[in-house]
Symmetry: C2
Subunit: 130 residues, 2 copies
DNA sequence: CAGGCCGGTCACCGGATGGTAACTAATTGA
DNA sequence: TCAATTAGTTACCATCCGGTGACCGGCCTG
């Protein structure tokens, strides 16, 4: 008997998760979509991310062509702007759908306790959403 | 000036990725959807996964209510069947959409070299797809 | 001329994630 | 009696991802 076999190293979905599964990446994509598009703005919007990690995640998103990095002013206080690529924008749509699924899933499948714990962490599902 | 702030620990998308971002999980969901629903079948379909990891990932998917585990026969050679829950089924639809996005993204944004490397790894995009 | 703002880099560290190999129970068939 | 099948468990190990804190250059303001 033969089986069609599968391997994670060759799985498209695994590659996609590698691109956007990073701890802060969905949030970063969400923020950039909403014109929070400069390093400092992003940093201030995510108080718990470090500069190093933020830089890393931005570089990776750029390499994967989900965002672009544009140097507006190289001197002075530097100004650098990030934007979603077309591909990045279309992905963000899918992420939003998945988000809806998640909100629903948690509502249906999770116990009241879990929901309460959720609330305690101030995770307002619909707001701090991505 | 005030900013709405965001934190990964409270981000729904981060939770979703934690659920299905595991190295083998998209593949497992795909296989179970296609009635490759027993431990041994799954193992043989993913030659490079170890029993321990397969068990772990299955348990996690079960805890997150994406699959169910049903003991068909406890004695003999045991028989245990896994199935997608309703929630798991609806998620798999979204994963398939994301997959389409991925195939497209790789085609458009990646260089020819990367595509060639891809081919060398026998990653036939449309087939070993999830 | 010290300090702040901007957008980073660098060396180092720790915990989670994934992986290996050996071992388990219970039953059937040769 | 020995091997094979089923579906795991256990102890241990290695790698990687994310995180911390210090530091950088250049300009402007007090």
């Amino acid at each position: 008997m033969e089986y069609r076999t599968y391997d994670a190293s060759v799985c498209v979905m695994t590659k996609i998760f590698a691109m956007i599964g990073g701890k802060w990446k969905p949030i970063i994509l969400y923020l950039i979509k909403n014109d929070i598009n400069r390093f400092g703005l992003l940093k201030r919007s995510m108080p718990k991310i470090s500069k190093k990690i933020l830089t890393e995640q931005l570089r990776e998103l750029e390499q994967d062509k989900l965002i672009t990095r544009e140097v507006i002013s190289a001197t002075y206080p530097q100004v650098i702007e990030y934007r979603l690529t077309e591909s990045g924008t279309s992905l963000r749509v899918l992420i939003d759908q998945m988000l809806d699924w998640g909100v629903n899933h948690f509502r249906n499948e999770y116990t009241e306790e879990m929901m309460r714990e959720f609330q305690n962490k101030k995770s307002v599902l619909e707001v701090s959403v991505s």
